[in-house]
């Protein structure tokens, strides 16, 4: 479950282009230049009277090593609160698992006012978040742990087609979650698409885009000491409307991820929504 929220919101290295809000773009970063992205989000989950709220901050920094290769770091910080149906409350906050990744744009075709690219992405989620956090009631459940405790590799493919009026992006990505301290989180695979349309432009100085994105995310069940937990993992399909205001120096963006279909295992919490706002700038 925890992984699903992370996967929904974390896998989005910034780009020096207008780009999807919930995942990556294949378009490259300029050599020797960088981009910073900051996003704040809130997500709510619920099942059978049990509720969970998560406030997150995601900081992304990217740098172009060459015309095709860019590296990124994604630093998550979360505040989580779990309210069990029986009235028990538990909470935690802190640094999550930092992600280090690289993106290689292996094909690009450019025309007047258009840009097409294909890229491969790969990296690892580092065990920087606490994975054995306790409170007065004992060890917190896996969905409340901020880290996995393991080095979890991931890889994917990206495609982007951009014009002056509209852009389309797609991503397929998988993550192999490893075992740590008796807990092996379910592996994840996701497929994302994005369409963004220019709604307004102030000459060449600023564009306003409307976006609609979809995120299909599947996470396997968690294994605890070799036994599968039938109440964790599942599949979600999000539809995510958003807006993005793009200038030469910065981007402001905001959107809501709405689950339109959820097939969760057992009593795994269902997602109500994830709302986010953020900005990016070049350096």
């Amino acid at each position: 479950m925890r992984k699903i929220l992370l996967m929904v919101s974390l896998l989005f290295p910034a780009a020096a282009q207008a780009a999807p809000q919930t995942f990556n773009t294949a378009l490259p970063l300029a050599k020797g230049q960088g981009v910073v992205r900051q996003q704040f989000s809130i997500g709510e989950f619920e099942s059978g009277g049990t509720e969970r709220t998560e406030l997150s901050s995601l900081s992304v920094i990217g740098y172009g090593l060459s015309k095709d290769l860019a590296v990124f770091g994604v630093i998550p910080y979360s505040d989580r609160e779990l309210n069990w149906a029986n009235g028990t409350d538990r909470d935690t906050s802190g640094l999550g698992d930092i992600r280090a990744l690289a993106r290689y744009t292996f094909w690009q075709k450019r025309g007047k006012g258009q840009n097409m690219a294909l890229a491969a992405i790969g990296g690892v989620e580092l065990p920087t978040g606490e994975n054995e956090e306790r409170d007065a009631l004992g060890l917190l459940p896996p969905i409340m742990q901020l880290g996995s405790g393991s080095f979890d590799p991931f890889a994917g493919l990206l495609a982007s087609y951009s014009t002056l009026k509209w852009q389309a992006h797609a991503q397929v990505l998988g993550q192999d979650n490893r075992e740590a301290d008796g807990v092996e989180r379910g592996n994840m695979v996701r497929f994302d698409t994005s369409y963004q349309h220019r709604l307004y432009n102030k000459g060449s100085d600023a564009y306003l885009y409307g976006l609609i994105e979809s995120n299909l995310i599947h996470v396997d069940e968690v294994e605890i000491n070799g036994t599968e937990n039938p109440n964790a993992g599942g599949t979600r399909l999000f539809l995510s409307p958003a807006v993005q205001y793009v200038t030469q120096d910065w981007i402001l963006e905001g959107g809501v991820q709405i689950p339109i279909a959820q097939n969760m295992n057992g009593t795994a919490l269902e997602n109500d929504y994830i709302a986010s706002v953020g900005f990016r700038f070049n350096f």
Binding site: A16, Q17, A18, L27, P28, L29, A30, K31, G32, Q33, S66, K67, T105, Q108, R110, G111, K112, G113, Q114, N115, S162, T163, L164, Q167, S204, D205, A206, Y207, V246, T247, Q248, D249, W250, I251, R280, N282
Partner: protein
């Protein structure tokens, strides 16, 4: 006479940079699709000595550069520069004098 010659040479040396002609290049660049995209190209162009200002026209797919005549904006340099920023340099037109605002853009 010697002193007069020396003074003339020195004066010419001092005033030469100030007398360098401004020229304007209109660069056709493929792949630019949004304002954020042009920032990297403008930033790279401004690292070239003699470049005074850069402006973009996304609809036309062009960047307009005001620079000293001797700034060295040749095809080879521009091809490499735009390749490194993820775009594709196509062509240039050069005219004397600048029409873009050099104050605002620097």
């Amino acid at each position: 006479m010697k002193k007069l010659l020396l003074a003339t040479v020195l004066l010419a040396g001092i005033t030469a940079p100030a007398l360098a002609k401004d020229v304007e290049y209109v660069l056709r660049v493929d792949g630019m699709v949004c304002p954020f995209c042009t920032a990297s190209s403008e930033k790279s162009l401004k690292t070239i000595d003699g470049v005074k200002a850069v402006d973009s026209d996304l609809d036309a797919g062009t960047l307009t550069v005001c620079a000293d005549d001797n700034a060295g904006l040749d095809n080879l340099t521009l091809t490499q520069l735009f390749e490194e920023t993820g775009f594709e340099y196509v062509s240039q037109e050069k005219t004397e004098g600048c029409t873009i605002d050099t104050e605002e853009k620097e």
